[in-house]
Symmetry: C2
Subunit: 230 residues, 2 copies
């Protein structure tokens, strides 16, 4: 009970920080996306390919979380965009205060940013409980995992706006029923958007990039409208 109370306190303090962050992101028209999956579902690969596919004028930054190592930041830095590794040293999720600190360390004015990608710790469980002020959580699941993952990890599928089914180029080699995976996700979250993608196949990210561009446009327009009416 004592443990539960402290957990509740930690979560409500996090929520306060997250709301502050969200307000700043929205006021500046920055689209913030929080990527969550198991280790190995392809978050870093997707981000690398996405960064390379964005128009060079896009103003992007990346915060990438890991328990140890800055391997992911090094991989992402190759695309030439500002990136900061958040090494949690054991903690199994990112929280709002780590995002605040990461943004300070990046030293970027939010007014100079179009998109912020946050790559969470590889964990389908704990990151679901921590709001980071993002516009949307995106859950990734690869076709080398099980179709029943949405049922086993319902919280993250319920809370994510988009489900990216990754590595679909491997479908011929694995016993994965993609329709069943989508049906399971919709059992948990009927209105969920679902996109099948492959970071290595030609055109495998087109639908995802379309989704991303639409969301970036909406974030920009919504900030403009707000500044005109205020």
């Amino acid at each position: 009970m004592e443990k539960l109370e402290i957990k509740t306190k930690v979560l409500s303090e996090n929520q306060r920080i997250a709301e502050e962050l969200r307000e700043k992101f929205r006021a500046n028209g920055v689209l913030v996306l929080n990527f969550i999956s198991s280790p190995g579902s392809g978050k870093t690969e997707l981000l690398e390919r996405t960064l390379c596919a964005l128009p060079p004028t896009t103003r992007v930054a990346v915060l990438t979380g890991d328990i140890q190592t800055d391997n992911d930041a090094k991989r992402i830095a190759r695309a030439g965009f500002p990136v900061r590794q958040i090494t949690t040293g054991g903690t199994c999720h990112l929280d709002g205060s780590m995002i605040t600190r990461g943004l300070n360390e990046l030293g970027i004015d939010l007014a100079d940013l179009d998109v912020l990608f946050i790559e969470n710790i590889g964990n389908l469980v704990c990151p679901a409980s921590y709001d980071l002020g993002e516009e949307a959580k995106i859950v990734l699941l690869s076709v080398t995992e099980g179709e029943d993952k949405p049922l086993k990890y319902p919280s993250i599928f319920f809370k994510s706006a988009l489900f990216l089914l990754t590595k679909v180029d491997l479908l011929p080699y694995v016993p994965f029923d993609a329709d069943a995976a989508e049906a399971n996700a919709r059992l948990i979250h009927p209105a969920m958007e679902i996109i099948r993608c492959s970071a290595t196949a030609t055109g495998g990210l087109d639908q995802w990039l379309g989704w991303l561009h639409a969301k970036m446009k909406a974030a920009r327009e919504s900030a403009l409208t707000a500044s005109h009416t205020s």
Copy 2:
């Protein structure tokens, strides 16, 4: 700080329960193995195939953990061995008291058991901190994940006796460097045993089954020696 103190208290209480469990397991010659990996690395598939490959006289039970659903218990039950699902309802790891409860619910006398397989929650982070009284932790990593996982999740690689590199039948289709993965694991844990396996290829589990039989024999003999000398 308050949070840290409570976490320390929870862990030391768990350690007490785990030591009690370990003593009982050893006295009865029961080999207990705690399987840990990300969701989708192939824990359930490995257990299913392993159960089917064991001599029918082997006395085995399985405790399988999940946040939600009893899908894994249903899959494993098909092999005809006693299995109990532990549904944690949100908690991201199994702990000693869940094992005690699971064993009571299985209703098996430890004297009538050769092996207990514990399939932990799909999570490479939190389960590493909780001793379940097992003889050994076994970490699984599939070739569809990244070679650098041992460096990113060092705790579980440090604490596991055996690293099972799974789904090696997919190596021709994925850009995975198995030698690099093994080298990374040995950086963290030089004496680690490593076995490459495939639950779907012919003979793909032979080396793993050999390891398992040797450990079962050792557990039985060590209990016998203890009872003769006591």
